[in-house]
């Protein structure tokens, strides 16, 4: 980073620390914070989409679809989420490869499962073994996002299902009285009104999502936990910057990062709640009206 860092063994004190904290690996460490934020930014809308689909399915008038929706929303109650985080990526990976295998190599006769191996034809591998390193990393990250979206989609489906039922029945009846079809009354009356009921549950979910991000480490993504372990471990003198076991301080840093993230989210969400309550016929809206007088 700095020109003075060319020979680390001559450095001392603060200079050493400045050079140490700007080494190439530390830059990768700082970038992995962006990975976490990217995961949050991609997963939140994806989970909302999954949740919306799940809630719609759970309300469906078609019996099998309703059962699928109910099962999807119910599964997260009894089963630890980490089981899903371990299960979904591998299952999805094998599912995709199996489908591609069926399409691309129809004359392949060997069974896909051979004892303890999962063998598909080379053309069906995901990503192809010839593809560059970044493709492998992106694919791993995409699987992780999918796992998060599936699990948090189930939580969001619970919240949205409850919010849809919380919209006063009279609103739907009015819509029907105006001659709207069920589809119209759903999209034009129910959906616009449900968000204020869903907001407390969704903001809770956001906090939980933040706290689930270190599980990326379990999925093999090089995230902040990976780098904290990697960088913090004791380095002997063959390394450029030898130091004893500093993992405690690295994890302390991560703890503070997460505490700050929660604190900021709390502040933003409480402002959002205040904004959405404005003019609503709820207790919070009424309190705002009184305060303004």
């Amino acid at each position: 980073m700095f020109a003075s860092c060319a020979d680390p063994s001559t450095l001392e004190g603060l200079n050493w620390l400045a050079c140490y904290l700007t080494s190439g690996k530390h830059m990768a460490f700082y970038q992995s914070f962006l990975v976490v934020l990217a995961l949050l930014a991609i997963t939140a809308p994806a989970a909302l989409l999954f949740g919306f689909g799940g809630a719609m399915a759970a309300r469906s008038r078609i019996w099998p679809l309703r059962m699928v929706g109910r099962a999807y929303t119910a599964m997260v109650r009894g089963i630890p989420d980490i089981v899903f985080f371990l299960f979904v990526p591998v299952a999805m990976d094998q599912g995709f490869e199996w489908l591609r295998h069926k399409v691309k190599c129809p004359d392949w006769t060997d069974p896909v499962r051979q004892g303890s191996d999962f063998v598909v034809c080379p053309a069906a591998k995901l990503p192809l073994s010839t593809s560059p390193q970044w493709a492998h990393e992106t694919y791993g990250f995409a699987l992780a996002v999918l796992a998060f979206a599936v699990v948090f989609g189930a939580f969001a489906a619970n919240v949205l299902y409850g919010a849809m039922r919380a919209v006063p029945r009279a609103q739907i009846e009015t819509a029907e009285a105006y001659g709207m079809t069920p589809r119209q009354s759903f999209w034009r009356v129910l959906v616009p009104q449900m968000w204020i009921y869903a907001l407390p549950g969704l903001s809770n979910l956001w906090m939980i999502l933040i706290k689930a991000t270190p599980l990326l480490f379990l999925l093999g993504v090089q995230d902040i936990v990976y780098w904290a372990r990697e960088l913090g471990g004791s380095k002997t003198s063959i390394f450029a910057y030898p130091h004893p076991d500093w993992r405690l301080y690295y994890f302390l840093g991560l703890l503070i990062f997460y505490l700050m993230l929660t604190r900021v989210s709390e502040a933003v969400l409480s402002r959002l709640t205040a904004r959405l309550s404005h003019g609503q016929a709820t207790l919070a809206g009424e309190a705002q009206r009184k305060a303004a007088q």
Partner: protein
């Protein structure tokens, strides 16, 4: 090898009894069910003990947080904020590193009249170290639940207690505390369920599984890695955890009935199990 034989070999493998080597090839369904079930002992151990000890600390934290004195309230608020605001996964890593840094041959406590050597090695083992973390974590989460319930104890109850001449400890033990528990119980049931779910994180977060004695998910992960087939071991874990969840709901439902037995039946709150997940 018959299933009975497998059961004898592996039923208590997670505690260190029975066959020492884990199965290496030709995994049968029976082996997977037995080993994963044997690991479940650890989940129940962590969950039950953390919940039991955490209950008392949570009550103390809730009362401290409700206190008027600044010196008592602030530490309680910070305790709750730190443990609820950060991921349990990070807390496990941090605690493990902190425990490892403790001097290996114990801390010499030099009291005036005697020397005490406090052993610290056991804290780096999962059975103790992870239990400490889970205990503090659940104390913070339930402390927040209890605090909310404490704030909503009806004013009339306190006034009635005053009228009977109750004060201080007597009033707390006989009026405030039972009402607080009654109000907090549905939320506390959720907390118990998700504490049990959180116990699966222990062996994935720094604490090593010594001699391959792990919890249910540890063995499930072992099988999934060996067979490269996630479709059998993980559903087995899921099955076991659904059983545990149902057992918790049943047990806590009984306690809920007892806490509410003086209420008119239409006012009794029903237990509603809602997902409030990962820490």
């Amino acid at each position: 090898m018959s299933c009975v034989q497998t059961f004898q070999d592996y039923a208590f493998r997670s505690l260190g009894y029975g066959e020492r080597l884990l199965p290496r090839s030709d995994f049968t369904l029976c082996e997977q069910f037995t080993l994963i079930g044997s690991g479940l002992v650890w989940n129940i151990y962590f969950g039950a003990l953390a919940l039991f000890f955490g209950f008392f600390l949570a009550t103390a934290v809730a009362v401290a947080r409700n206190s008027g004195a600044w010196v008592v309230r602030k530490p309680a608020e910070w305790f709750i904020f730190v443990f609820r605001g950060s991921p349990l996964f990070i807390q496990f890593f941090l605690a493990y590193q902190a425990f490892v840094l403790l001097p290996r041959n114990g801390i010499e406590l030099n009291l005036i009249f005697t020397h005490i050597t406090a052993e610290t090695g056991w804290l780096t083992r999962a059975w103790a170290g992870a239990l400490v973390v889970l205990f503090l974590n659940t104390a913070a989460y339930s402390g927040e639940i209890f605090y909310g319930a404490l704030r909503s104890v009806p004013k009339g109850d306190i006034e009635a207690a005053d009228a009977y001449g109750m004060a201080g400890w007597t009033r707390f033990r006989r009026i405030v505390w039972p009402t607080m528990l009654r109000l907090a119980w549905p939320a506390y049931t959720n907390e118990a369920i998700f504490l049990f779910h959180a116990t699966t994180l222990v062996y994935f977060s720094g604490f090593p599984a010594w001699q391959q004695k792990g919890d249910a998910l540890y063995y499930a992960n072992y099988f999934a890695d060996k067979t490269f087939n996630p479709f059998i071991p993980y559903p087995i874990v899921a099955f076991y955890f659904i059983l545990v969840t149902l057992a918790i709901i049943g047990l806590f439902g009984l306690i809920n009935r007892r806490l509410n037995r003086h209420m008119p039946s239409e006012n009794r709150p029903r237990l509603r199990i809602r997902p409030q997940v990962i820490r």
